[in-house]
Subunit: 205 residues, 2 copies
């Protein structure tokens, strides 16, 4: 059958285009990214590119949409044998490891820069990313509270505060490109510090 065959190829190629577009957008920013070089990197022609996406904005929207589907489990539930401190450290470590990545920061700069002119893009990203993340952490903290390990007023408030404790020192610095990617040791130290302070405030004594 022709229809199904070409249909399949079309979706595959679309993904491939988005892969290349992502690369270029992250490296150059939206304004500086060029449809011509995207087509060239594809090994294809601009005609084909415009066959799949009707404009540069359209392509960028598709990129953002795909990026916002990202939702995986950095925040795994606590394991039975873990102490509360271990659980918090593990969460903070996984979170920092993800969020301070070069890739993640490039994406973040790209989105925020474009959110200036197009708030709906920033909103979609925020809801799928930071907002969802904080809610997930709140769920975990709720569980820990139910187990009698924590003494929280409001789990969501506490989740935001915990993430703030964990990331504040390095997130801005990394966003400003003022420091290179962190070592495992640095991440571990920061995660430890965040967990310690959080438990000093909210741990059941």
């Amino acid at each position: 059958m022709l229809l199904t065959k070409t249909k399949l190829d079309r979706d595959q190629r679309r993904e491939l285009i988005l892969d290349v577009a992502q690369e270029v957008f992250l490296e150059e920013g939206f304004a500086n990214a060029s449809m011509s070089v995207i087509a060239a990197k594809l090994g294809g022609s601009k005609g084909t590119l415009y066959n799949y996406f009707k404009s540069k904005e359209d392509l960028f929207n598709a990129y953002v949409e795909r990026r916002c589907l990202w939702q995986d489990e950095i925040f795994a539930a606590p394991i039975g044998t873990e102490t509360p401190e271990e659980t918090l450290r593990r969460i903070a470590r996984a979170y920092l490891k993800r969020v301070l990545t070069d890739f993640n920061l490039k994406n973040f700069r790209l989105i925020t820069a474009e959110a200036e002119r197009r708030p709906e893009i920033g909103l979609a990203f925020y809801n799928a990313g930071p907002r969802r993340g904080a809610e997930r952490v709140a769920e975990l903290l709720s569980g820990m509270q139910a187990d009698g390990h924590l003494d929280l007023d409001d789990p969501l408030d506490a989740a935001h505060q915990f993430l703030g404790l964990a990331q504040n020192r390095y997130f801005k610095a990394r966003l400003c490109n003022a420091i290179p990617e962190l070592s495992e040791k640095q991440i571990e130290a920061e995660a430890k510090l965040a967990a310690k302070t959080f438990l000093r405030a909210f741990g059941k004594r």
Copy 2:
């Protein structure tokens, strides 16, 4: 005298150009800002503009330099009659009020977006801004500890954590343009929450 007169005018005009350039850069971003519209907004000509700054990059560098000189006293020292909680709330309130401003966020997006390609810009900004701010807070916390109000391991760690507690929930959201400017009430609530948690962790009992 001709020399001093023209010299004075030159500095004034330079500042005026930078004012206009700032406006355009913040509104359009570096890539989208146009030297022609800057000249037009000046009421002057491109020739004059290029008489003062030899290129768009040069103009942008001058803008960043001027912005990075920013250093004032959001973080005033504690007043004699204040309780520790009041001091912390006042600091957090002043900090949030400044950092969550539309203006500040536009500047932040602009700098970080450009820091991608030119790390020295991001570094200069980070050192003059977030870094310096955290150090200032650390000094204040040190003073409070000397007065017997706090029990800290490391004042700088604590300062980063305190600022993290205060800003994490709203900073990213504002950066993504996902929420509008905060009301006084919201800022007050967040400052209160941060101070409360901080004292739960580090307050002398």
